[in-house]
Every structure is written in structure tokens, then in C-alpha cells.
Assembly symmetry: D2
Homo-oligomer: 334 residues x 4
């Protein structure tokens, strides 16, 4: 298999490195307009080829194109790649609009090509372990999902903090709560420095007794990456800043003796043991690359496909409308 | 000075104890309908008197009435107390509606009586230290205020989690950001167990480049009580779960070279030293009682007055309208 | 049952309060030479009697004497109490020398009286839970026991930091490792301020493949209270500064394929799950008082008896000899 | 400058990488007996040469030899390198005995060659910052130095846990307390699995009111790397497991009103502010390589020289004698 990587900025070199390490991949060609980036790739990865001509790359015999360019160019490169008959890997968020996402999905479907959206966190040991726990019924029914991802981070010039940081957490939410249906969102926040929000809060409503919230911030003095999942059996905290005990499962919860007597103090809480399962530490990007390659070889939908990318983009798109209207509820048809 | 305490439930005994400890207070009379509560007070505080007749208490020569009953009875007891010529201390939240609060303020003003609302946190060493830092200009202009108060806590039967937990944080916000004007709120959340929300997010909009958010939850497996204040000079984190380093001031922030070049990556962040000022540990309730007594003696508005109580109630009231409408923005006229 | 408490300083009032709360106790008499301490007891505990004459107290009909005076007076009060036919409760450390401890044990045995030594930590939920885990074989054979108890604490005038802080941890060690035999100790440290050590390290040697170490310090800027128990099956960390997850059990350890191939890298380590059992929060002092009373009623040796007190004193005594000789090993005959 | 690296095991590749990155270095030649290690170096660092013949390497025109082999071979390779006229870089600990260290120092001195011992931590931002604080008098006189370095780590086959882990901390101690004279050591511990200790405690005595202690353990379920420095002005905690606040300086301490009244409770403690200075994050190994190269160019003693290596080896050597004799004090002549 031959793979072309378009966009050799911050993330591109990692992609080149990972595809070079795949046994099924014979050749990796890096593509960028900046000669300095091409030179860096040549120096770091003597085994890789480079080009500054993406049109030529699309005409070559590469099997797949990896797109690691700014969000607003995803659609253009993705469309041309699909039309050239290439499978595509697209960095998150998938596209700048849901219409673009739908069109790309249609093209890929009609040509039997694969779209892989790089929702990297789905391939981490921690998220896979949480999925296992939910599948095994450990947590029971999830009542709420709370996510915080804040730090002192680089501002993006083209998108606000929701578009930059929330896709990670939204993709995790969709993966973990795949049986639940999103019905709409509300977003609040502030743009303290220029016209794009640097602090934001995103509420996601589901159709049946579940609620999710995402707090993202580029201007926090402390770095927090934490999720809380409130199950009706157990509750789980995923603290991604911990080196060792990333996941904690609490055998704690709310006990309700009877719904009739709600006004007579029959809601109690229970505190029990906690345990922290071992989390496998393998590079998520490597597992992602394997999944992409396998989905092509086995001709099947990858775990993080264009459909998953579309779901996230729909929420991001709705969040824009909401945050510009001080948190107005915006419905989503999934 | 003589003080009557109406309501001897969870918090009442602490109030009896604190007023007994004030040198200016000669007599404390506890009042409750339940004889078992009166007996408990007699046993624990042999120096206190008790009665089950609040009407008689109001007719007696007590100078002040302390009201520690459920929220929806605050108005009734407060009004009768004021009409009987007594100064009043009311537990938070002040009243169940802003109209009640306004009426009480009017009565007190017309009779030159004091209303003290027990926003206890204003009297803690930590909040006073943060106020000092802001007053001294250490943080610069506050750009955002973020508060989290979650744990596995007792459900209230009469109010949702915002009314139960957020008054603490809203009173701190008003105290710390006293120069800023609230223009409206949006609230999201879910009621997983009965008709009152157990998870909620409250956004508060200001009129000029500032934003606040409050996350409250009765059903979190972990207990978090943390505030982040993003100043344009420094940033502050107040972690009330820490025993020793409750306040951390970060000499970190966002640097913007020029607003013109916003789209050319000129927003940088800066990370500098951190310091944690020593926090005085005195019982907040004692300081509150002293402030109440002194405001009466000196015939002045107390630090946490009916006006402060009203500001909080206005937000709580608006949050109800918003949360029932999936986060609809509700304007507030301060 | 009637109980006299001699010594109403820092800890005495807690003892008065706890014995007053025991249903079997009809009367508690506090005894101290300072009238101000007696007045404080009268004020706080109207149900208690007081006296400044301990000789009269010993002649009265009290059943038991609780001794909460400085260490070097324990022997005198304990001996007179036993000779007056009273059961005794003695604060830790039991006595100033092991000879004193042995003599008191002999007197008590000859008169069929009970000696209770207040090794309070044995009655905490955390230590009892750890004992349960060890009894159930969860940790396997304990290979090492490591204890740290450091903070910025009050200097004692009569004893060094080992005598002040280590008795807690030594009593826990004896309780948890009751099947293991101590053979000797070595102690190192420094007296930075006057002739009594403020930093010290105490090593305890056992007769069979086990080792314990105690780090105590009155001059640490941070407060640490942590024990690590290295079992050959699992390992346990007890962090007493945590409010919620005091005990963590790690399914981690050292794996040795064969002792022959030791020099060929066959020692591996294994990291598995961790769990944190729920710890019951009841006041240890109350459970201690109940155990003392029950041991008298049931005429049996209490859980923390004079024998346990003696074991701790032997180690403290040996530590004195060792630390004055820069860590010389001092043998102990248990 | 040309550099040869002997020993391409765990650490060797990092050394090759770092010397390749130095502008003054034209050529790096890796040397190992195992062909697989040479192949790995060729693959990872196409710019490096390799050889399996160290004798030939010593005869070549390389200027310096980097020795990253097991401890007991350091002397042999170092001696031959010096005799061949090469400057040497030796991994820690410098040698297996102090006599070896002295002989190497003599040879280097007589031939005007440099010995650099790789006490890497001296080149970290955190240790350099602590040194700056001490130099500036921030902490005052250091009264005690307490170090903990424990985790679940790989057993070494040739040396015990003191020789493996303590050199890091001993070198830091010597660097930070360079004005203080070590007079002797005492070591305690246990070898639970084979004849080399896996848990150890090392006490270091100084000649004047200062004391240091080192706790090292290969079999701890938790990873702790922490130092406490008790100064008579301020106290410092260096927690190397923290990502952000590695150093905390506490304006806390012990206050003594008068030494006469020591027995009348005049020792108080004071708790003040804490601050955490920003720590520069540059790779220590790179700074070390620069220092080695500069010491050669400038013909001066490097910051971490053979003399520093010798000081550490003397303590390690003495610790062996002490630990085999249950903590017997072993004097050291510095």
C-alpha cells in the first residue's frame, strides 16, 4: 500500500512516522507547499518521499490520502482525493460544514472508498477500557456525561475553542453513548480577545433522560482533562492528566426507594469501593492507522468513519448558531 | 442584645452556638415546633432558652431574629419579624422570589431595620484574601469566572440543585466582581430522578467582556469545589477542597501583540511563577455574626445585606425560566 | 461504671467527652491541678464532676482511671491507680521505660486489673480495613512496611520526635504484622534546634525477610501521613491525608521466574488494577472506650493492652540508644 | 570534534542522539559487541558510524569517549581511553570503587584530560533553579535534606538499589550543599528477593548541624520522586513527578525565641505564603553534552567532574559496608 500525506505542519510528521511504521505500507509521500517542511521530513524520515505538487500526488498510484491541513481546506482535498479514487484519512474535525461532510460520504459510498476521520482518542487504551466497562454493564444506564478540557493553549485563527477542542470529547461521547440520540445543543461562552470564543460551554440534550456538557477553554492557568460519567449503577471518572490512575470507577450512586415519596427524603446516596483498572498504553495513532488499513483491506466501515465525523460536525455547526444567540437551543436531526 | 433563632434543624444549632459566643449577646432563644429539637438545644447549650411559639418570640424583647427555616417560609417569618420591629438574619437563599425580597427590603428600610443574608462564604479567609488581591489589582481585569461545586449530596425536596448550591458561588461572584453588571443568564441541566434538576450549568452574561459559569451537581462521585478567575494580568484558582494551598495565583496569561494581526498568530501565552498566599482560618459564621451585630450597633448596611440577597435571588429566578426552556437567555435588570 | 480522668490538658477533654457518651458510664470525674482546666470541663460538660485531688479520686469508688498526663508521670499515676484497685487507661506511649511497663503489667496481672494503652489508630476504620485485608490474605506475605509521618508540628519538651510521633505507627505495625518478630532497631536523625531530635528515621529489623522503616519530622513544610505495605501478592498504600481514598490496593508486584537465574534478568514487575475499599468513618476514641469497658466487663485482655504498650516502649527505648550512637544496631528481645 | 560512544544499551542511543545534535561534533561512532545494537543505531541515526572494535576506536582520531557500559566495566574502558589520550564522559555511578575513581582522576590530571561524570540531574531546570534559590539565600542555612526515589522498577543484576538510584540524589545533594562536609553514612534496608537490597535507607551525616536521608526502593507500587530541603529561613519541596509545579518554596519554619527557655514551649512554628517558581524545560542531556564540550574547549574542570563522581562513589562504597552491618556508622574522609 502507498500513502500520501497532505499537510506537514504540526501533526503531519506524526502521521508520516506512523504510516512508515505500518508493515502493509511500502511507501509514504509527504506533500506540502513549504519546502522547509519537505526538507524536515526528508531529514527525519529518510525512507519517505516528498512532493510539493498535490495534484501529481493524486494522479499517482497511492492508495490513500491522509489530509492534515486546516479545517476549511479538508473538503477540497478530500473531494479531489475521492474523485481520484483514493481512500481518505481526514484530521478532526472532518469538515467545516455538515453539507460538505454529507457530500463526501455520498461520493465515497458511490465509489466504494473508505473515509477515516481521525478521532484519535477512540483508539486510546483509556477510552477503549471505558467502552468495555459500559458494554459489560458495569455503569448501568448513563445519566449524564460531563467533560472538561481546559488549559493555556494556542489560539486558532480560523475556529473558536469549541471547534478546536470539543471534537475530541464529542467523538468520545458518541462512541460511549452510541445507543443514545442527540436532539439538540445550547452553547454559551465569551470571546475575550477577538471574534472567536476562547471560553465555551456546550450542553448536549438527548431524547431520553441523559445530558452531556463540555467545558472548553484556551485561557485556563491550569490544565484539566477530565470526564465524569454518571451511571445509575456506578460512576466513572476519567482523568487524562493522571499518569497512572486515569480511570476510577466508583461504586457510588443515588438510591431512590420510591418515586411516590420523593418529597419525604427517600433519595439517599451510597458511597462504596472505588477501583482503577489498568489501562494499556499503546500509541493511539498506530492503532488508528491499523484500523484504517484494515478497513480498506477488509472492505468495511472503519471504527471512526465519515458518519462519525458528520455527527460531530453537526453539533459543532449547531453550537455556532447557539453561541451567537446566547445559548439558544438548536435542534439536531441525527 | 437578645437574639431569637427560628428553625433548629441542620444549621440552626450552629447559629445558636455562634450567637451564644458573641460578647454582645446576653440571651439566645431557640424556636422550633419539634420538641425533640428544643430538647437537643437545651442539652447541648444549657445557656440557651427555647420556645415552640414564634409569635410569642416576636412579641418578646429580642432585638434580632435569625431565620433558618426552609426557603419558602423565609418571607413569612422575615416579614412578621420586621413588622415586629426586629432586625433579621436570613439563611441563603434570601427568599423564594425577587418580589418577596424587594418587599422585605422596603419594609426594613422604612423601619430602619437591618437585613443580613447569610452568604457565609463572603466571611471565609479564602474569599476575603481573593477580594484583597483583586482590590490590589493583582489579577487585572477579570475576563471570566468559572465555578464548580459538585459532589454526592443530599437532594432537596423543595428546590433544584441550582437553588441549593449556586447561591454560595453567586454571592462570591457578586462580591468579587462588584463593579460588573449582570445582564442575563442561561441555564441547562437535567432532572434524572424526579422533577428537580440534579445536574445544572448556569451561564451568567455581563455587559462588558466578562462571563461567568456555574456547574452544580448533586450526583457526582467526586467532590470538587473550585473557582478559576481569568484576569488579564494574572489568573487565580481557588480550590476549597485543599487543606493547605486553597488559593493559587498564576503569573500566566494571554499576550496579544496587536489586534490587527489577529489572524497571523500573534496571540501567545505566557507561563510564569505561581504563588499561594497564606489564608487565615477563622470560622466564617463567627465573623458573620459579628458583622450582623456591628451593622446594628453602627446603624449601617451589613456586608451581606438584603440587596445582596436580592441579586442572587434574581439570578436563581431567571435560571428557573431558562432551564425549563433548554437554556433560553433570560435578561436581568440589576 | 465510674471513670476518673487525670490530666485535662490537650487530650483530656476528648476523653471526658467520650466516656460521658458511653451508656455503661454513670459518672466521669475530671482531675487536674489547674483550676482553669477544671472550670473549662465544668462549663463544657455540665454532667461531669471535677477535683484537684487525685489521691482522693483514687480512694473513691471509681472503677477506672484514665491517665492523660505527660509521659514521665504515667508510671506514677498508673502504679498508684492499680494499687488502689482501679483498671487503667494510659495515653501513648505507655511508659518512659520498658521496666516501668513490665512492673505495671505484673501489678495488673496479680490484681486481675486491665491495662488499656491508647493506641488510637488501631480503632480507626482505615487500620481495621487494612487488618481485614491482610487477614484475608489479599496482600500475601508482607515484605516491607514503610511509614512517613511528617509536618510542621509542635515540639515536645520532654521527648524527641520519635517518642512523640512514632508510637502511632509502631502500634499499627505491631497490629498488622503480629506474626512477625522484631529483632532490633537502628535510628538516625538530627536535633537542629536543641537536644531533642526533630528529624528522625527508624529502621526496624524482623527475624525473617521483613523490614520496616519510620520517618518522623516536626519540621516539614508539608504534611504527609502515608504507609506503604509491600506484600508479595499485592501492595497497599494508606494515605491518611486523603479524605476519600485513604487506602489503595495495587495488584502490582515483583515476579521472579526462578531464583537460579537471578543474574539473567528474570525479575520482572507487573502492574495491574488498583482498588480503594470504602472505609468506615467512626470516631476511633469511641470504639477505644467501648473496647476498654468491654474488656473489663468480659474480664479479658483488651485489643491494645499493656503488652502492646510494652512492645512499643521497647522500640522507643532502643531507638534512644541507637540515635545517640549514629544508628548503631540495638537488639530487642521480644 | 569526534566522539565515540561505547555501550549502546538502554541509555547509549540517547547519548548518540545528543552528541549528533551538537554543532561542534562532526562525527559520532557507536561501539558495541552486539551487532543488533549497531544495526539499530545505523537505522535510527543514519549520520552515525558504528564499530564493534573498541580498541580500534581508541586508536582512532576521536577526541572523546563516552562510556555507557555496566558499572563494573567503567574503570577498564575509562583507563584505556585516558591512556589513549581521550577525554572521557562516564555514566553514573563513576566507578565501582573509590580507588578506581582516584586512579582515573590522577591519570586524567597528569595528561590534562577531562573527566565528565553524567550526573544528569544537575543539568535539569529544576535543580538549577533550586541552586539559584540557595545561592540567593532564599532558604537560609539548610538544616536537613530529605530525598525519596521509589517506584516499581527494574532490578539491576550487579548493584543494589542504592547504587542504582541514589547516585542521582547524592549528586544533587553535593551540588546544592557544596559548602557542607560529609563525615559518614549509615544504611539500612532489605534484600527481599536475592542478595541485593531492593529497599534501602541511607543517612548522611555532616560535620555541622545538617543531615540528609535517601529512601530508595525498586518495589514500591507508587512512584515518588521528592526532595524536601529544610532551610532556617524557608523550606523547599521538589516534586519531580509534577508536570507543572515541581518546586514549591514555603515561607514556613520554626521560630525559637530563646535557647534558654527551650523547656518552656518557646519553639513555635510559622506558616506563611508558598510560591512555585517557573522551571525551564530543556533537555538536561543536551546541556550536559554542551558542558562536556565546553570544558574541553576551555580547558577547565566540568561542572560534574571526576571529583564529583568520586564523592558519590565514596558514599556508595561506605553504604555497602554499613548495610551489611545493619546500619553501622561508616566514616568518610572527604
Amino acid at each position: 500500500m502507498k500513502v500520501g500525506v497532505i499537510g506537514l505542519g504540526y501533526w503531519g510528521p506524526n502521521l508520516v512516522r506512523n504510516f512508515l511504521a505500518q508493515p502493509e505500507v511500502d511507501k509514504v509521500i509527504g506533500c506540502d507547499l513549504q519546502e522547509s517542511r519537505l526538507a524536515m521530513i526528508k531529514r527525519k524520515f529518510p525512507g519517505a518521499d516528498t512532493t510539493n505538487d498535490y495534484k501529481a500526488l493524486l494522479k499517482s498510484d497511492v492508495d490513500a490520502i491522509v489530509i492534515a491541513t486546516p479545517v476549511d481546506t479538508h473538503y477540497k482535498f478530500a473531494k479531489e482525493s475521492l474523485e481520484a479514487g483514493k481512500h481518505i484519512w481526514v484530521e478532526k474535525p472532518f469538515t467545516a460544514t455538515s453539507d460538505q461532510a454529507k457530500e463526501l460520504i455520498d461520493i465515497a459510498d458511490s465509489k466504494d472508498l473508505k473515509i477515516f476521520v481521525d478521532h484519535t482518542f477512540i483508539y486510546t487504551g483509556a477510552v477503549r477500557k471505558i467502552k468495555d466497562l459500559i458494554r459489560a454493564g458495569e455503569l448501568g444506564e448513563i445519566k449524564y456525561f460531563d467533560s472538561v478540557r481546559i488549559n493555556l493553549g494556542l489560539f486558532q485563527h480560523d475556529v473558536n475553542v469549541i471547534w478546536d477542542l470539543a471534537p475530541h470529547d464529542l467523538s468520545i461521547m458518541h462512541y460511549l453513548l452510541e445507543d443514545k440520540k442527540v436532539v439538540g445543543v445550547a452553547a454559551n461562552g465569551i470571546a475575550n480577545y477577538y471574534d472567536l470564543e476562547n471560553v465555551a460551554h456546550l450542553s448536549v440534550y438527548f431524547d431520553n433522560n441523559c445530558f452531556a456538557h463540555f467545558h472548553v477553554n484556551w485561557t485556563s492557568p491550569v490544565k484539566i482533562r477530565r470526564m465524569i460519567l454518571g451511571g445509575d449503577k456506578k460512576m466513572l471518572v476519567f482523568n487524562d492528566m493522571e499518569n497512572f490512575e486515569k480511570i476510577k470507577v466508583y461504586d457510588s450512586g443515588v438510591e431512590m426507594e420510591s418515586t411516590e415519596k420523593i418529597h419525604e427524603a427517600l433519595i439517599q446516596y451510597r458511597i462504596g469501593d472505588m477501583y482503577s483498572p489498568k489501562v494499556v498504553q499503546t500509541e493511539a495513532l498506530n492503532l488508528g492507522a491499523m484500523e484504517f488499513i484494515n478497513s480498506i483491506k477488509e472492505n468495511r466501515v472503519p471504527l471512526t468513519s465519515g458518519y462519525d465525523g458528520l455527527k460531530v460536525v453537526k453539533i459543532l455547526e449547531a453550537s455556532d448558531e447557539s453561541i451567537k444567540n446566547k445559548g439558544k437551543f438548536v435542534a439536531i436531526n441525527d
